[in-house]
Amino acid sequence: MTPIQKFEKPLGMRDSFPLINEKKENVRDVGRKFFRSRGFDFIKTPTVEYYETIGKASAIPDSSLFKLVDRQGETLVLRPDMTTPIVRVATSKLLKEQIPLRLAYFANVFRAQEHEGGRPAEFEQMGVELIGDTSVYADAEMIITAAEFVQELGIDDYRLTVGHAGLLQSILLQLTQSEEQVTELHKLLVEKNMVGFEETLKTFNLSEEQERSFIEFIGQASNVDSIQQLSPFIDKTNPKQVTMFSYLQNLSSLLQNAGLSNMVTYDLTLTSEMSYYTGMLFEVFASGSGFAIGNGGRYDGLLQEFNSNVGATGFGLRVDRLLEVMTSTSPLEPHTLIFFDETNYMKAVIEAGKLRYQGIRTTIQCLDSVEDKHAYQTNFTDVQWLIEGDGRR
């Protein structure tokens, strides 16, 4: 291997240059106002956590974790997501003070890279968690909040895909003969490997009738605009399925009330590698990025791992991908440059003070230290010269 060069960063790590950094800060500012106005409180958790607790409970695969060892020999991880640490704080402390809890975060998370680029190993996530409310209103609040936040950022061409992990599980169980088969199919659905799905079905020795209804289910329940279209796939004699379906119907009418009908499609085959999702789950897509910009859902299962059964729901958006799809370029911020020379230093300070007081971003710069005056000026919207004689060349 060639030795590491001075300019290199570890695989997948990125610098945020001022321009990008400003955009990120802008998302953070908009988000802070937006989520706070809806009653969410922001929280921070440590960058480093125990592998034994957070590392194992998080749904991020082991191979993607950055691991290190502390002085006592305990394995630590750089937090791979924010949901798990927030659940840790909530179940161990905050829930004793307030329930339900509305928490929000803007934080960087870490996922190790295997080989190639195009995927950052550290990125910012912004999201919210609503812990201690199992009602359909909580789930609707998550989807609506995500959608309206995306709109708030000026992203108009976006879609939400909504599914239900519990209902899918129940339907799969009914159509197959064993839990193992369900697990196998589940894995294929996470990848949306339709070819593999059909091939696997053939190995199950189902009746022709069963196989056909299965393929119909996968083909037709994966993309519908109205929840009613899913009704034929629900077994009306199975009370659990009926309950979950009417839950989805309620959710759908709440989303309709929020004016989101055109943005939402339903996909009963939607599932996630995050095994802790138990109920509603959703994904957010926007044109301009080849990857989903965010996802969320109900994760009562994760709370159970922390010995709590109060239930929780939430979502997270990837800030790097939001930046990819945000088209609106903010107008150039006024930024005044004052060139001064030795005799005019105090004048420059006073002048700059006045401008800053008016809220104008102002830089004062000794002219003699600048080699290429012409190039330097191009970074500013306005230039003032406090120079004796003809220093102004």
């Binding site: 195009g118 061409d157 879609r159 895909t161 990848e191 949306k192 490997n193 339709m194 070819v195 593999g196 059909e198 993309n223 499609t265 994904e283 897509f285 926007a286 044109s287 990025s289 080849g290 990857f291 989903a292």
Partner: protein
């Protein structure tokens, strides 16, 4: 109707896949691959083709610069990219197998396997419970056992002629390979109508 960008593999698979699209009713010009262009527009169908190396098709689709693509199952297994596999086009049928010199056993201490498919090969031997050393090659894999570089190779077999001509025999069949229609997860949602229409038409024309 939104524009659809399709990543097509250059070479052998191209012709078959292209004919399949024509058969499904897409009005496409007959002489597309003859030009040396890498991007070809078909305005009246609102389709844009990207001509790529077969191994690269899933890369374009995963990153969303192509909405859909046509890729061999061998490539999909080797690269494990997050793309949706929508349809088995049943073209370019072949399979991946292990092969070697006749009547030979694997070396006990350090069995070596030469292949273009390091991941598929190592997954296969892991599953079998054997630890092997993988040697990555880019072509003419058959050479490896002949000149003593490896005990076995893992490679694509279509007729088996190349193996026979080089005095090799097939040992184990690993997996069947055909070309698949793959889609980017975001395009699958945002351009669902077009993609589903294409899947349906391809499916119907194949029956």
């Amino acid at each position: 109707m939104s524009e659809l960008t399709i990543a097509m593999p250059k070479g052998r698979i191209f012709e078959e896949a292209y004919a399949l699209l024509q058969k499904a009713g897409f009005q496409l010009p007959d002489d597309l691959e003859e030009s040396r262009k890498l991007i070809v527009e078909v305005p009246h169908e609102r389709i844009r083709f990207i001509l790529a190396k077969p191994m690269d098709v899933p890369v374009y689709v995963e990153h969303g610069v192509a909405d859909i693509g046509i890729a061999g199952k061998d490539v999909l297994l080797e690269q494990k990219r997050s793309v949706h596999e929508l349809l088995d086009l049943k073209i370019s049928q072949c399979y991946i197998a292990t092969a070697g010199l006749p009547n030979t056993l694997m070396n006990d201490i350090a069995p070596r396997v030469a292949t273009k498919y390091p991941k598929i090969a190592s997954d296969f031997y892991k599953e079998k419970g054997e630890q092997v050393e993988i040697i990555g090659l880019n072509g003419s894999i058959e050479l490896a056992p002949m000149i003593g570089l490896a005990d076995r190779i893992v490679d694509i077999v279509s007729t088996g002629r190349t193996l026979t001509e080089n005095g090799l025999v097939e040992y184990e069949r690993i997996v069947d390979v055909t070309s698949r229609l793959i889609a980017n997860p975001v395009s699958y949602r945002l351009k669902s109508e077009r993609i589903r229409d294409m899947v349906k038409r391809l499916k119907d024309s194949m029956e």
